[in-house]
């Protein structure tokens, strides 16, 4: 019988059925970071348990690291305690830690793929909701809570109910100036922030076939913002080419065997899905959010909604969002003044993101009064940007170029909005207070749109600002 990738990976990792009907699922790869793991190690110690497969657990530090200070101790004693705790836990339990001194540190969802740890046909768990990123490789990757981190540490398994699978096809061609970030913002706008509840999203169609691995990661990253528990793309030649030669990728004869095996996990033609959604790529515009959840998005050419034109719940949620964002009902989003431009995060902090922006940023200047920061998602990304002179382009334009980390995506480090500052951000969440100030405001957009906002000082159409050729 024809099966989806999800079904095949699930079957291969199903250990047994538990009393309540859930599956005990083997987790092949466990990624951990400093924020959600210390309590799990604490629980492990309380129960007198060991880590079941330390060689399948990998750690990095990302959320709390300052991006403008490398030396320790960190100025923030709580942050300093957290990095030390992770170091201690990894040493005690024999876990590989991509610490800053290794040159391999970075946001967990960037480090896994970069090191070749993220592989097709595998299960991955991490105490972080954006673990769905790893699905870009044809892995089934779950964000989990701390008690489940304990479960995975102690048993290399977790209890989970099976998901349904929704196939999302994006066919045709994206218009110039439209990026993978716009694709996922558009999908969430169409299907809603809880449209994916109970589902894994399988992304496919011509657009995904042509996408690079980094573009696929951007989309899979935000699956969770659409309520889906996981999101993936079937592995293909693009996937294998990306993985070839990476530190943890199989080598020699093992490589060929692995590729054959990876290929076999792709969804079979004719397999059935619980739901299918098809989107025409040509209908997707550069998309920006206007509200306080990632589903509240519009094309850059549109106006923010007018709550008086709708009723009930929809009306009150628009009113709440516009009041928080300090936007006028029915006004164009284009031209909204910004204070901060943030370029980075696990959604758009990869080499190609900086590379694409650098193409257009050369010779341009960040507008007066705008604070612009560019933060590579990993030390690896930072090194490549430096080799290619990309950091220079950003610096010359007036961006601050920082050390790797989550930075202003969620501001558990010194990079924060102040007061009600408005930030044009390449990250993934625009929740109230997300960027560190309880009244701070976030508009999500693609990296090139962030650059356009940075140089004009307001939300702008990058296609106009940078004269993006129309074909």
């Amino acid at each position: 019988m024809a099966k989806s990738l999800f079904q095949k990976v699930w079957d291969a990792h199903h250990v047994r059925t538990l009393a309540n009907g859930q599956t005990q699922l083997l987790i092949g790869t466990h990624l951990i970071h400093e924020v959600t793991s210390p309590q799990a190690f604490g629980m492990l110690r309380d129960l007198g348990l060991k880590v079941a497969m330390p060689h399948r657990t990998f750690a990095t530090v990302d959320h709390i690291v300052p991006t403008d200070q490398f030396a320790e101790p960190f100025a923030d004693p709580l942050a300093d305690a957290m990095i030390k705790e992770l170091r201690r836990n990894c040493a005690e339990f024999g876990i590989t830690f991509f610490d800053r001194a290794t040159g391999k540190q970075g946001i967990v969802h960037i480090v896994g793929p970069e090191q070749g740890i993220t592989q097709p046909g595998t299960t991955i768990a991490c105490g972080d909701s954006h673990t769905s990123t790893h699905g870009a490789f044809g892995a089934i990757a779950f964000g989990i809570g701390t008690t489940q981190i304990r479960d995975v540490l102690a048993t290399q398994t977790m209890a989970l109910g099976k998901l349904k699978v929704r196939r999302i096809n994006v066919n045709g061609r994206l218009r110039p100036g439209v990026y993978s970030k716009d694709v996922i913002l558009h999908i969430i706008r169409v299907l809603g922030v809880n449209g994916g509840t109970g589902f894994a999203y399988e992304y496919g169609g011509e657009v995904f076939d042509r996408f690079t691995m980094e573009e696929r990661m951007t989309v899979c990253n935000m699956s969770i913002e659409g309520g889906a528990r996981a999101g993936y793309v079937n592995p293909d030649e693009t996937t294998f080419a990306y993985l070839k030669g990476r530190p943890y990728s199989p080598k020699g004869a093992a490589w060929d065997q692995a590729v054959a095996r990876w290929r076999s996990f792709a969804s079979d033609a004719g397999c059935t899905y619980d739901d299918v959604v098809t989107i025409d790529a040509a209908t997707i515009a550069p998309t920006v959010t206007w509200g306080i959840n990632p589903g509240q998005g519009i094309a850059i050419t549109e106006q923010v909604p007018d709550p008086t034109k709708v009723s009930g719940d929809e009306r009150s949620s628009i009113e709440e969002a516009l009041a928080y964002m300090k936007l006028k009902p029915g006004s164009p989003i284009k031209g909204t003044r910004i204070d901060v431009a943030f370029m980075g995060s696990c959604t758009n902090g990869r080499l190609s993101d900086f590379q694409e922006v650098a193409k257009y940023l050369k010779g341009r200047r960040v507008a007066a009064g705008v604070k612009a920061i560019a933060v590579p998602g990993s030390q690896g990304v930072g090194i490549l940007c430096a080799e290619l002179g990309i950091d220079r382009v950003f610096r010359d334009a007036g961006f601050e170029w920082r050390e790797a980390g989550c930075s202003m995506c969620l501001a558990m480090n010194p990079d924060k909005l102040i007061g009600d500052q408005l930030c044009a951000s390449s990250s993934n969440r625009n929740f109230k207070g997300r960027q560190g100030s309880p009244t701070g405001r976030t508009i999500l957009m693609s990296p090139l749109m962030v650059a356009a906002a940075a140089v004009t000082g307001s939300v702008a159409d990058a296609r106009e600002v940078f004269s993006v050729p129309s074909a």
Binding site: G42, T146, R150, T155, N194, F431
Partner: protein, 200 residues
């Protein structure tokens, strides 16, 4: 490990209205700089409860009449956003034993079950009725009955739903899966042997 069988929760309620209440609102990220979950309760809903200077804003949790409530009522898609267990931990440490909402984000829902916090889904109009009753009489006892899948309050009864695997885990006292997962050790090794990428 023997866990309590959670078949029913009784307590006073408090209604925190709103849809899509995300985990950043439940517990702002800056309070997650900690290596234990202790003390998280006091930061529950911090930014919507407190002014910048630490004084109270108007919020149901700040009202004296709702002190001691153990059943949290809210709207649709409650707990969306992050997988941080800090959110359900803060809810539990604040003193809540159960949540009733129109719907829950999946990871949050699972995290709650694992902590023994039943999350029941009820219809919007029924939540409004419970909220009205609670607002009129804050000392009213609400009972969540997981066997009957019902919520009872002030002589009224409304239907509730909860994912069956989680209901089963709660009522049979196996909501923390660790014991059962550990028992599967041999089966885990067998499955692992069939997966080449797990070889040490």
């Amino acid at each position: 490990m023997s866990l309590a069988k959670i078949t029913s929760v009784k307590g006073r309620g408090v209604y925190v209205p709103g849809n899509d209440i995300d985990t950043d609102r439940i517990i702002p990220a800056r309070f997650m700089k900690c290596v234990t979950f202790d003390g998280l309760g006091e930061f529950l809903f911090y930014d919507v409860r407190k002014q910048a200077d630490g004084t109270d804003k108007a919020h149901p949790l700040n009202e004296a009449r709702f002190k001691g409530a153990s059943v949290l009522l809210s709207g649709a898609n409650f707990g969306c956003g992050s997988s941080r267990e800090h959110a359900p931990q803060a809810i539990q440490k604040y003193g809540f034993k159960a949540v009733i909402a129109e719907g829950f984000a999946e990871i949050f829902f699972g995290n709650c079950t694992t902590l023994g916090i039943p999350c029941l889904v009820a219809r919007r109009e029924d939540i409004a009725r419970i909220a009205d009753a609670v607002n009129a009489r804050p000392d009213l006892e609400i009972e969540l009955d997981l066997n009957a899948r019902e919520i009872r309050f002030g002589g009224q009864t409304v239907k509730a739903t909860i994912r069956e695997t989680d209901r089963d885990a709660l009522i049979h006292g196996r909501w923390d899966a660790i014991g059962e997962l550990l028992e599967g050790r041999n089966a885990v090794l067998e499955t692992a042997q069939k997966l080449p990428y797990l070889a040490a």
